[in-house]
Amino acid sequence: MKPDLSVRIGPLVLPNPVGTASGTFGYGSEYEELMDVDALGAIYTKAVTPEPRPGNPVPRIVETPSGMLNSIGLANPGIGAFVREKLPELRRRRCAVIVNVAGSSEADYLEVIERIEEAAGSWNAAAADEAGKAGEGRSGVDGYEINVSCPNVAHGGLSFGTDPVQVERLTAALRRATKRALIVKLTPNVADIGAIAKAAEAGGADAVSCINTLVGMVIDVRRKRPFLARGTGGLSGPAVRPVGVACTFKAARAVSIPVIGLGGIMCAEDALQYLLAGAVAVQVGTGTFVDPRIPLDTLRGIEAWMEAEGVARVGDIAGLLATQA
């Protein structure tokens, strides 16, 4: 029997557990010629802020051992241009669309969500059930991923995500503004990720996703200065995978809401580590840069593994993990 790949995130049912991580996939159309974007479970858009942001000075990226460091700085055209230019094309998507939201203050996050709610209309569960089927009647936005974990901006971002009190307050405020799925994206740059996950749950989040990038630095010894213009950046790629799996394991044991795992997924086996650790869904990020075939190959590999192992539902995978006492 074919396994059931669908995954529930609050009010939203994703057709399958594999999505593409925010900041690595634009708004979906960038990869249209290279893959069947609509076969994904979800796309998580580039972060949207109230105002247009040009982003950080260059150089913004550098390769590291089995990874990369980036300091893009939430470059995006702002909520006005998002609603005008990106939302119409997102309405044509058949996969779920999760808009990543960022800001420097609580008011910034609220403004982005309120403007999208106004433009996309309030949550319509009947239309949302059409995710994975026809594009007719789709609002273009199925949920929000709240970025309280960007290491590359001076205000907001990481400073929210490391404080459980602020995470709970922000989540609660955003919860009042939308009935769409609300996912809080956690940073690994904390002592206890479980405490932050609990704060998101207490604020009313439908899920948490982890991990955002780890703060890192590369120094150009010849020129005696940091390689990235901004000094530090966010580390991603296979190098961070064990950190992501451990954070997923901890977060899944701290909360009863779903956990979405990401960090260094390059194949189905990597994704299965996250699902065994307690995630119900995963995101492929840097892996898509390396090989745009990775997201859908990962999905096919998960399905094949479930068939071979006789696992009926994605949510059943986490229960299979054997741990030593």
Partner: protein, 285 residues
Amino acid sequence: MLQFDAGILSNRTIAPDWKELILRWNPGAGRPEPGHFLTLRPGRGSDPLLRRPFAIASYDAGRGEGPSVSIIYQIRGSGTRLLADLGPGATVDVLGPLGKPFPLPTAGESPILAAGGVGLGPVLYLARRLEELRTAASAAAVPGAAQASDGSTSQAPAPFVIGFRSAVLVPDLPFPPGLVLCTDDGSTGFRGTPVDWIAHNASSGATRIYACGPSPMLAAIARLASGRGWKASLSAEQWMACGVGACMGCVLPRPAAAGGASQGFLRACADGPVFELGDIDWEKA
């Protein structure tokens, strides 16, 4: 753009630490034009991780066996070292063609082509293409006529000015006519940079400079072209992660607006890599 596994036809040394890689090209990807680039994955593992971008240096439609393209690269890091070890028969994961190509010269424009160091590839492909067009136009022209069918003069090959530090670094490649070799140390050809040569030798008039090279060279070309009222199509070489416009890692600064306000950035991969004069502040790139 298309992602495909490409067979390697040859991978030969053309200068110390410089190689030319010839790859089978998938015709489904369409014909790449001068200025287009490709990315390839040098290994199959996770270190080095990212794809490497390379401008296309030639295209051969092939006979029977299908088309091929070449890239020119300098061995200078872990990715290019892996690439240098691949031989005929191996395959490599290719994605292309990417970016926006050079605009061809319009009627009445006299092209000058300039390349420095790793910028050789795309300008060499353009020089080869312009030479093909010139030869075809000459063959088609009525004897004695100076105008090609598109109205451009078709008699002299476009100056193709390339610069290297020294004669020993000049690559072993078949160059089209019009070649002007420049070396910093004067060990062969003109002593100085391609920009120096153009500043001294180019006639005034309707000129379009095509160039690729390090940012300081492109900044110098941009200054020269602005000063003389020439057009310029300049191709950037940038670090990039995705190559398709998603990661925002390869951006270049736009010139500041009146009053000094930043106008943000353009992506080398998707908005370029070829930019027209005034698109980019090369002094800050």
